[in-house]
């Protein structure tokens, strides 16, 4: 294997709003490279079919991937005004279709493998690249690629200002889940008279009409949610145990005559993705041994810890692992702990 070649560009594409502009930018970059140097330039557009394509034989998913590549082919023709010029080759490929991909790390692995096989030295990413669905993918992917020696760049494409979307289009499953949850809650608190069933239905209807659009960030899945709930019931006793330990620890420290505290702030990149897991982890961190989540952006946590002891616990990552287990299942629990990943660093304040 030879040295990664910066004249070989890897462009992962996905059906995003900015994919067209990203392709245009990549072609532009390739053209500039070709004109400036005499080395042959290779442009690789690859599609990684999303988690939706868990079944490798799912024809419609692979169909969507090849469809997208067809479109990319048309766009390259458009931008080159025909075939690519001498010294510039374009490759279109679907990769990783035979794997179960789930975290940004998995996507990165697939892309890195492809890049390594072809000595690719540079990657251009679509700023809206997000094949995994709702969980933010771009940053972790960038970090992962850059760590493995690729030159990574986000395509500077125009896009609409992106704000946190609070209300999303409500669908029937969303209405039904909100309705069921609020109706159950109502009945639990009511004395079970016939009238209660009636008023409960009215209340639940109102609640679901008002709250269904903001209650979920993505479509609740009939198969996944119950499994997550079951795993949650395993998690809760563990969390309670951790909380009990936390409190004994705090009680000991607080009541100790010399107040043996050594507070620091640790910046900590958690290996969880998506709103619900991140929120769960942040709250769990706050509840357990000597650690307090100060701020969270995406998946970077600023955690204030009271003692050395609690810092070690954080690096051991028991909670993080448990949260991954709840939301993603057992195999996800096996990701290395934050200490091993080197994802914890102490924040120092000047002066």
């Amino acid at each position: 294997m030879t040295v990664p070649d910066p004249h070989r560009l890897l462009v992962p594409v996905d059906d995003s709003v900015t994919v067209r502009n990203t392709v245009a930018y990549a072609i532009d970059q390739a053209e500039t490279l070709r004109r400036d140097g005499d080395a042959p330039v290779e442009l690789h557009f690859v599609v990684v079919p999303g988690t939706r394509a868990v079944d490798p034989d799912a024809p419609e998913e692979l169909g969507a991937a090849t469809d997208l590549l067809d479109r990319v082919a048309v766009w390259t023709d458009e931008d080159f005004g025909g075939d690519p010029p001498e010294g510039l080759s374009v490759t279109l490929e679907v990769v990783g279709a035979d794997r179960y991909l789930f975290s940004p790390g998995d996507y990165a692995d697939v892309l890195l493998e492809y890049a390594a096989d072809r000595d690719i030295g540079r990657a251009i990413l679509d700023p809206e690249y997000n094949p995994g669905g709702a969980a933010p993918m771009l940053r972790p992917l960038e970090i992962e690629l850059a760590r493995n020696g690729l030159e990574v760049e986000e395509a500077p494409v125009e896009r609409e200002a992106r704000q946190t979307v609070l209300a999303r289009a409500a669908t029937l499953p969303k209405y039904l889940s909100v309705f069921a949850a609020s109706y159950l809650f109502y009945l639990l608190l009511s004395p079970w008279k016939p009238l209660d069933f009636f008023t409960g239905a009215i209340t639940a209807t109102l609640v679901s009409a008002l709250l269904a659009p903001i209650a979920f960030s993505k479509q609740p899945s009939i198969t996944r949610v119950p499994v997550q709930l079951v795993r949650m019931t395993i998690y809760v006793p563990y969390l309670l145990w951790q909380i009990a330990l936390a409190n004994l620890h705090i009680a000991k420290v607080v009541l100790h005559p010399s107040l043996p505290i050594d507070p620091t702030v640790v910046r900590y990149r958690a290996a969880v993705w998506g709103d619900a897991p991140v929120t769960t982890l942040a709250n769990s961190i706050t509840l357990t041994p000597g650690t307090l989540t100060i701020s969270v952006s995406d998946r970077a946590f600023n955690v204030h810890s009271l003692t050395d002891n609690s810092r070690d616990d954080l690096e051991a990552g028991g909670l993080e692992r448990a949260v991954r287990f709840v939301f993603y299942g057992r195999e996800a629990a096996a990701i290395a702990s934050p200490g091993e990943r080197d994802d914890c660093e102490e924040v120092t304040y000047d002066g």
Binding site: V254, I261, T264, N283, L292
Partner: protein
């Protein structure tokens, strides 16, 4: 006393103890972040144990369920509040107290 009564008394007593720890912690700890630790953890456990005692003591199904729900919501809302306070403090640029300034500065 029946075992149930013992359980209620024990829960209430331990709850009160942790409530006390929270209060002592708020007085003794040096800055807003460390105090938030005491307020978020010990206080949660204290309140939750007291509520658990209440749930056992009431014994009528409905109110017990309500007490259990209260307890669950304490677990959700308390850390969120602590997080909001700590984050506001960080936004204000308040520096965490460190062990080096144990002497001198408070």
């Amino acid at each position: 006393m029946t075992p149930l009564e013992w359980a209620i008394v024990a829960l209430a007593a331990v709850g009160a103890f942790f409530g006390g720890v929270a209060a002592v912690g708020i007085v003794r700890l040096p800055d807003i972040y460390t105090r938030a630790h005491a307020a978020s953890k010990s206080d949660t456990l204290g309140a939750v144990l007291a509520l658990a005692a209440v749930a056992l003591a009431i014994q009528t199904d409905l109110s017990t369920i309500k007490a259990v729900f209260l307890l669950l919501f304490m677990f959700l809302t308390n850390p969120t509040a602590a997080h909001a306070i700590a984050r506001a403090a960080e936004d204000q640029g308040i520096r965490p107290w460190a062990a080096e300034n144990r002497e001198g500065d408070p």
